[in-house]
Every structure is written in structure tokens, then in C-alpha cells.
């Protein structure tokens, strides 16, 4: 269905090609996941499927891409709209109309489909994706998961045989991500649509995949195969696969269900091990860095926070979780002084952040916003780092050192807009991290980051916490929470519904539990690393327990 033959893509002004000699084929009716490290060219590959690269991006594509036998060299994206539907990373950026129903019909209107058929297809898609209750809603009033489903529906109505999605769940909370993935598997199973999807959070998609296209980056050849084949060798793998490797399970489990069936001996073996042998030492909590008392906030008629009382201490990493729109970002904005409390008070290091000048705020609290690209406005990465050192009054080069620890090997003359999503986030992160404020806030920091970059981020955050910073991350990424958080706060409709040690909060939650915890429940282990430590404590590094 999708056929890449010796495709090499070079962007204008780039020294080396982004993709080198990529050849693979996706047969009809498969769900194919594109994986690779940050910046390896996943988005480029996806956008090349219907010719948006190079037609909208510039650059040169050598080789050939064909969809259902139609070549992108001869046909522009609009002439391929009836064969392939593309949903970008930010679905809202691609909406043309105002209402759900109009958006669904838009592609069909362009294709000149008969009104009666349009009417029927819109109804079908509304039912298929569970959107019928939203049909008359303005697009701007939808939540992230709903927007993503409408975006998928809006390309599906044209009746494409191929659906291409770039990180469809990266902005979604675990429940909304499930919703979208369930819709995708339904399309593959019931309608035989070929789906090509890029995703960093493999733990969410791998269990549904028929085929993996692995882009190793650095000009190495792509690896194509079934998930089990690819993950026996791949450096990027979801936690459940890592656990399978550690335990020597064969075949490698791809879903929690597979793993649980194999895990009984491992669970029995680990039952005797005490928490202290693998868990991080309990922190006795340092000084109070920030306090909110009775904090309330609202956007127009919507109440975002209803009386939030929280304390944050130095040396702890706090994870802020909850649905899209639960008030996480609002709380962070208050802590860094971007918003003034409607009622109640916020104090950071004894002062009210919204009353401080910009220069003073960065010394007490730093925030990496959700759309981290907005922090960057210089021409080159080098200039960006230099400006950051000057703004914060640091020794020249400080920011660059932090950057190399998070995303190594970024050329100093690269324009920030030419970086991949993940690299750009890494740069923004380093700018805020560089001045090492006592209170560090990160809003969805792992969006677009591969496992390696996440691991480096986790190390940086742990080191900062050990140096006495209070770190708060608002995130949907349960694996990162498991790896880094000491304490976990769950918000729902602007209220704190859970606040306690991360292990206690996430282990038994069906939504927030990481894969390892689900496999080993009721044991309170959260990460593969902890399992490793626990095995060592149980007195053997061999596999004698099997």
C-alpha cells in the first residue's frame, strides 16, 4: 500500500540528508508504527507519504514514494486526498471550519462527492469514532482527545485507504490516549485501513502494532519487521519489553497482558524483597519553597482551580497529574507569577511571584511552558544559549553544558525552528534549568522526547532535586513519573484528589500505573531499574528463580 524505494530527503541548507536510502513497504490493512530517537526524521518520513515533504517544506526527495501505485512525484497532496489522510501533530492547527460536522465534510466537499453520499458518510464516521454527541459543537470547545478524533474523522470521510498520524497521543492524558488508539485499532480491524503512526510513547501503541519501522538515525539503515523481531535488538523499547529482556522471556511480551502471564515466577521470587532494597531512600523533605493556600482561579465562566492548598519542599520531585484541563497548567502559571490569584495566595520563597519583576522571578521560579518553542527567539542555538547566560547573569557557556547533557550534539549554528520537537524542548529546558532556580516547574516536559532523552532528563531532574531544588512536573507520562517523582498530586476539576508518595498514588491506579507496576501488581515496583535492584537484593543476578 505504501512503498518507499531508496528515499533520501535533504532539507534546503542542511549539510546531510535527514533520511538516507529508506526502503520499505507496508501491506494493506496493517498498523505500522514508526519509531526512532528524537530528531531521526520520523515526521519527515510521515509527511513524505503524501508529498507534503518536499512540496510544503522545500528540499529534495530522491527515490520514489508510491501510495496504492500512485507516485507522489507526479501528484500533489490534494490529488492524493482520496487515498491518504494525514493528521499532524497539533490537530487544532489543521482545522479549517468551526464546527465538528463541517470539519468532517470538508474533505468530501473538495473531492466533489455527491451530497447524499456525504451525508451518509458523515453519519458513519460520527458513529465509528464515537463523535455523534459532539456533532454540533464548535471545534474550539473540544478537549484534546476529542480534537484528535475529529481530526482523524475529517480525513477518514474522504475514504482514504491509508491513514498517517504523527504522535496522535502525545498531548493526551492516558485515558484520552486510550480512546484515540481504540478508534485506530477499530479502523484497522474493521475497515482494513492501513495506518502509519509515529509515536515516542511505545508503551501506548506497540501492543497494537503489526509492523515496526525503526529509524536509527545518523544515516543508519532503517529496520523493518514485526515488533518481536525489532525489539530483540532495538535500543528503543517500551518498559514491558525491557522487563521481558531482563527476565529473559521468550517470546518478548508486547502488552501488559502477555507479560502478566509470563510474570508469575518473577512475582513469586520478588515477594520476599523489602521495599528499601530497590526504592529510592525516603526524603525527609527540606525547607518549604512554595505554598499555595486556598488558591482559586477561573477563565471566564470556567473554574480552573477551587481552593488548592499545597506545600512544596526543596529536594523533592513532585508530579502533577490529571486529565487534560484539570488545572495543572493553571497551577504552574500561578507559581511562576504569570497569573494573579483570584482568591487565596501563592508564596514562593516568601514572596508573591506575580508581584516580582521579571528579573527577580527567574531567580525564585523557572517554568518550561507546554509549547516550549515560545521560549526561543534567536537565530541560532548558540545565540540562544548566549542570551540565556546573559539574561540570568551566568558564566558564559553554562546553558550549553546543560543542553549537551539533555540533547547532545546539536550544532550551535542550527536555527531553533529547524530542530525537531524534542531537541527544541531540550533547548528550552536548558535555558530555564541553567539559572537553577529553587523552584523548577515543567509543563509536559517529555512531549516528543525519546526514551534516551527522557532518561537524561530524569537524571538532570534528580540531580537538581539532590542539589536542593523543588521540582514540579505536570505530565501525562506515567513512566516518567514512575522514574523520577517522589510525590504525586492528582488534580481533578481544579481540586486536589490525591497527594502522597508517588509509589502509593500510582501503583494501584488503573490509569496512572506504569507498565511494570501493572505487570508485577500487587508488588510496588515501578520501573525496570527497580526490578533490577530488587533482583540483586534477592541474592542472584542469574536467572535461577525461573
Amino acid at each position: 500500500m505504501i512503498k518507499f524505494e531508496h528515499v533520501t530527503i535533504t532539507y534546503p541548507g542542511a549539510e546531510s540528508p535527514t533520511l538516507v536510502d529508506v526502503s520499505f513497504e507496508v501491506p494493506e490493512g496493517e498498523l505500522c508504527v514508526v519509531v526512532g530517537v528524537t530528531g531521526s526524521g520520523k515526521s519527515t518520513l510521515l509527511r513524505a507519504v503524501n508529498g507534503l515533504v518536499p512540496r510544503f517544506s522545500g528540499g529534495v526527495l530522491a527515490g520514489s514514494v508510491a501510495i496504492n501505485g500512485r507516485s507522489t512525484a507526479e501528484l500533489p497532496p490534494r490529488e492524493l486526498a482520496d487515498v491518504v489522510g494525514v493528521v499532524g501533530q497539533d490537530p487544532a492547527a489543521g482545522f479549517v471550519t468551526d464546527y465538528v460536522e463541517d470539519e468532517l465534510a470538508y474533505a468530501m466537499e473538495n473531492l466533489g462527492i455527491e451530497p447524499e453520499i456525504m451525508r451518509r458518510r458523515v453519519e458513519d464516521i460520527l458513529d465509528l469514532l464515537g463523535l455523534h454527541e459532539l456533532r454540533h459543537r464548535p471545534l474550539s470547545s473540544l478537549s484534546g482527545g476529542q480534537q484528535q478524533r475529529v481530526a482523524i474523522g475529517s480525513v477518514l470521510t474522504a475514504g482514504p485507504r491509508v491513514l498517517v498520524l504523527d504522535e496522535p497521543t502525545s498531548a493526551l492524558d492516558p485515558a484520552a490516549a486510550e480512546e484515540v488508539l481504540a478508534a485506530l485499532t477499530r479502523l484497522v480491524h474493521d475497515l482494513g485501513i492501513t495506518v502509519l503512526v509515529a509515536e515516542h510513547r511505545l508503551e501506548r501503541v506497540v501492543q497494537y502494532a503489526d509492523r515496526i519501522v525503526m529509524i536509527p538515525g545518523n544515516g543508519l539503515p532503517v529496520v523493518v519487521g514485526t515488533p518481536a523481531e525489532v525489539f530483540t535488538r532495538s535500543s528503543v523499547a517500551p518498559p514491558v519489553v525491557e522487563l521481558g529482556r531482563l527476565a529473559g522471556w521468550n517470546p518478548l511480551p508486547l502488552s501488559v497482558r502477555d507479560a502478566r502471564r509470563l510474570a508469575t515466577p518473577l512475582r513469586d521470587h520478588l515477594k520476599t524483597v523489602s521495599l528499601s532494597s530497590f526504592g529510592r531512600p525516603e526524603r525527609s523533605g527540606g525547607d518549604v519553597v512554595a505554598v499555595t493556600s486556598g488558591l482559586q482561579a477561573s477563565y471566564g465562566p470556567i473554574t480552573a482551580l477551587r481552593g488548592v492548598d499545597l506545600q512544596f519542599r526543596s529536594g523533592e520531585v513532585v508530579a502533577l497529574m490529571g486529565r487534560n484541563g484539570a488545572g495543572k497548567s493553571t497551577l504552574l502559571n500561578h507559581l511562576v507569577g504569570l497569573r494573579e490569584p483570584a482568591l487565596g495566595a501563592v508564596r514562593v520563597m516568601g514572596s508573591e511571584p506575580h508581584r516580582l519583576s521579571a528579573r527577580d522571578v527567574v531567580r525564585v521560579a523557572g517554568l518550561v511552558p507546554q509549547d516550549s518553542g515560545v521560549l526561543l527567539y534567536h537565530d541560532t542555538v548558540g545565540a540562544e544559549c548566549g542570551a540565556s547566560d546573559r539574561d540570568a547573569g551566568l558564566v558564559p557557556g553554562t546553558t550549553r553544558v546543560v543542553l549537551d547533557r539533555i540533547v547532545p550534539d546539536i550544532d550551535a549554528v542550527t536555527h531553533p525552528r529547524d530542530l525537531s520537537e524534542g531537541q527544541r524542548l531540550g533547548l528550552a529546558l536548558s535555558i530555564v534549568l541553567a539559572s537553577e532556580p529553587p523552584l523548577l516547574l515543567l509543563d509536559e516536559p517529555t512531549r516528543g522526547l525519546d526514551y534516551g532523552a527522557k532518561q537524561r532528563l530524569v537524571e538532570v531532574l534528580r540531580r537538581l532535586a539532590e542539589d536542593g531544588h523543588a521540582v514540579i512536573i505536570a505530565t501525562h507520562d506515567v513512566e516518567v513519573v514512575a522514574a523520577v517523582a517522589d510525590r504525586c498530586i492528582v488534580l481533578a476539576e481544579g481540586e486536589v484528589v490525591a497527594d502522597g508518595p508517588a509509589r502509593d498514588v500510582v501503583v494501584h491506579s488503573p490509569v496512572f500505573a506504569p507498565q511494570v507496576a501493572k505487570v508485577l501488581a500487587p508488588l510496588p515496583l515501578l520501573t525496570v531499574h527497580e526490578v533490577e535492584l530488587a533482583l540483586a537484593a534477592a541474592g542472584d543476578s542469574s536467572l535461577s528463580w525461573q
Binding site: 489543521g94 465534510a105 480525513v155
Partner: protein, 374 residues
């Protein structure tokens, strides 16, 4: 369609954009014909009342207040210009500002001098007139979705679609982007006030908005926008030329109708030429166009009521202007403006769409509007 009309009155849906534009153009034509401050304020009030009761809960519907603000700025500028540069009118002198003697080549331009009450009132009326016209356009843009407006246009005109769609989304996106950039500056520890902060943030705001525009264009293209279909390039070119000519003729003609001093040739003949050119373009290009429409907006009873309300208010103003000069109250000598009852009655009719037009769909509305437009 006719059997549905009784249902359509009560059901929640968006009114046909054409009806709103006829209504708003009627109101603005009235505003252009008068300087009577009472009538102008009534026009703004009518526009505001209808917008408040019938706008949908979507981003573009929130633009009315910015049009009002723009109108206020226009009034202030008009009055300030009158004080500084305006022609000197005899009458009650309020105060004087120093007069500049200009060289001979600038004869006819005066700066400074005595400022009279009469001149200020006249300037205020003229500013108010522009503000009222702006309010009418603001009402039209907040009452109908730009996308629906485009969709209602004949398919040949749809060519201009990418540009217009992106233009409509550019302003709101630039506002969002500029707020983000301001916050980002603060997060980086830079001052968020002052000219320098603004100029430094202009580039990232533009870049961000442009990026989104390109993303939108890519999305439109990958969903088949602008497919060639069977229309040959020659036919397309011919219809585009005809459309441009027709539109120019139509605007000249409407200007001629509004300005009593325009030559007769610029009135009805220009309008007729424009109409013929547009119909020609539709016949030439429209027949072979590829696009189809999903659930086209119906034109039923409420649409007729709203557009007729727009026509009635124009007729009432025309009648008033024939029977006296109540539409142009004298400012020299200064008089208390009279209030022509016929024009007020016309404006009351123009306010009726606030009740006649169907309620726009609210987010909670589900099955209610399914029955319409079938």
C-alpha cells in the same frame, strides 16, 4: 424545504450568512446616509443588541467588541484632527491653540487657531458615523462564520479561499502568539513592558503565526483543497477576469448610489454591468466546477425576515431623507437634532432579528437541530 420552515424557526441553527450580510449592509447604508447622532447611536445599539442575542459560542463571534473599540478610536482621531488641522468654522469659540503660519505652497492647510463648538460637534457626528458603519461590519463578522461565508460563495470564487481562510485565522492566532511571547519573555527574565519588548517580540509572533498558516495550508491541501477537476485553465482564467470586473463594477455602482453627488453613469449602469459580468462568470466556470456542498445552509422564512428587515430600514431612511433634512442636523448654527419617528420605526424593525433569527447552536445542543436543512 418549505414544509420544514415552521420547524426551522424554533430549532437551533446558524442563519444563512447571506441574510446577515444583507441586514448589516442595510444598517450600514443607513449609517452612511445620516449624521444624526441619535439615529447613529440607535444603529450601534441595534447592531449590538442583535449580536448579543444571536452570536454563536465560537472564537470569531467575539470580534464585535474590538470593532466597537476601533470605532471609539476613530471618533477620537476625527475630533483631534479637527482641533489641530480642521478648517476654521465661525461660531462659539471654546479655546484657541497657537496657530502655525505655513509657507505659501501649503495654502489651504491650517494648523491651530480658534476651536469652535460647532466644528467640534460636526467632527463628532462624522466620527460617530464611521464608528456606526464599523459596528455594522463588526456585527456581520461576528454573526456569521467566515468559513460559512466562503462556502456560500459560488465555487469559482473559492479560489480566493486559501488566502481568505488564512487571513481570518491569522489575527486570532497572532493574538494568542503575542500573549505567549510576552509570557515567554517574562519566563526568561526580561522586562515585559516598553517599546523594546514589543519590537523584540514582533518577529517571534509573526513567525509563530506564519508557521500556523503554513500548517493550515498543508492541512487544506492534504484534504484535497484546490483539486483541478475537469476545469480547463482557459475557462478558469476567463471566469476570474469576469468576476474581478463584475466586483469592481458592483462596488463603483454601490458607491454611486450612496453618494448623491456621483455622476449618473456610476449608479445603475455600473450595477447592471457588474451583475451581468458575475452571472457570466458563474455560467462560464460554475457549471464545470468540482466542489459539492454538504448540507447547504437553507434559505427559509427566518432568512427572508432578516434580509427584509435590512431592506425596510433602508427604505425608512430613504423616505425620511426625501421629506426633510432630519438625517443631517445642522451644526452651524447648532441645533438640537430632531428625531424622525419613521427612521426610528425602521430601526426597531432592524432590531427584530434578535428575536426572529434562530438561536445559534449551543455546545449542549444535540439532537435539536438534526431535523433542519434535510
Amino acid at each position: 424545504m418549505g414544509t420544514d420552515s415552521a420547524v426551522a424557526v424554533r430549532v437551533q441553527r446558524l442563519l444563512h450568512p447571506g441574510a446577515w450580510w444583507i441586514w448589516a449592509l442595510g444598517l450600514s447604508a443607513c449609517a452612511l446616509r445620516t449624521t444624526n447622532p441619535v439615529l447613529l447611536c440607535l444603529i450601534v445599539a441595534v447592531a449590538g443588541w442583535v449580536v448579543a442575542s444571536r452570536k454563536a459560542d465560537v472564537p470569531w463571534a467575539r470580534s464585535f467588541s474590538s470593532f466597537l473599540r476601533l470605532g471609539a478610536i476613530v471618533i477620537v482621531i476625527r475630533v483631534v484632527f479637527q482641533i489641530v488641522f480642521g478648517l476654521r468654522v465661525s461660531g462659539t469659540t471654546l479655546f484657541s491653540i497657537p496657530e502655525l503660519t505655513l509657507p505659501d505652497w501649503a495654502a489651504g492647510v491650517s494648523i491651530g487657531g480658534p476651536v469652535t463648538l460647532e466644528s467640534l460637534v460636526a467632527a463628532l457626528y462624522q466620527g460617530l458615523r464611521l464608528a456606526a458603519v464599523l459596528a455594522c461590519f463588526g456585527a456581520a463578522t461576528s454573526l456569521c462564520s467566515p468559513y460559512r461565508m466562503l462556502r456560500a460563495l459560488p465555487s469559482v470564487l473559492y479560489e480566493a479561499g486559501v488566502a481568505v481562510t488564512i487571513a481570518f485565522t491569522f489575527a486570532p492566532q497572532a493574538i494568542v502568539a503575542s500573549r505567549q511571547v510576552r509570557e515567554a519573555r517574562r519566563l526568561r527574565g526580561r522586562s515585559d513592558r516598553g517599546i523594546r519588548a514589543w519590537s523584540a517580540s514582533a518577529l517571534p509572533v509573526l513567525e509563530g503565526a506564519l508557521d500556523r498558516a503554513v500548517a493550515l495550508a498543508a492541512s487544506m491541501d492534504s484534504r484535497g483543497y484546490g483539486r483541478r477537476g475537469g476545469v480547463s485553465p482557459a475557462v478558469r482564467r476567463r471566469s476570474v477576469v469576469l468576476i474581478l470586473l463584475g466586483l469592481i463594477a458592483l462596488s463603483v455602482g454601490s458607491y454611486g448610489l450612496l453618494d448623491p453627488g456621483a455622476p449618473a453613469f456610476f449608479r445603475l449602469p455600473a450595477l447592471a454591468f457588474g451583475a451581468v459580468a458575475l452571472v457570466g462568470a458563474l455560467v462560464a466556470g460554475g457549471a464545470t466546477a468540482l466542489r459539492t456542498r454538504y448540507r447547504p445552509d437553507p434559505w427559509v422564512v427566518p432568512e427572508w425576515f432578516v434580509s427584509i428587515a435590512g431592506v425596510i430600514v433602508v427604505l425608512s431612511f430613504a423616505a425620511v431623507s426625501r421629506s426633510g433634512d432630519a438625517l443631517q442636523p445642522s451644526t452651524n448654527p447648532l441645533e438640537v437634532p430632531s428625531v424622525p419617528l419613521l427612521a426610528v420605526a425602521g430601526l426597531l424593525v432592524a432590531a427584530l432579528p434578535a428575536w426572529i433569527a434562530p438561536q445559534p447552536p449551543t455546545p449542549s445542543a444535540t439532537a435539536a437541530s438534526v431535523a433542519v436543512a434535510a
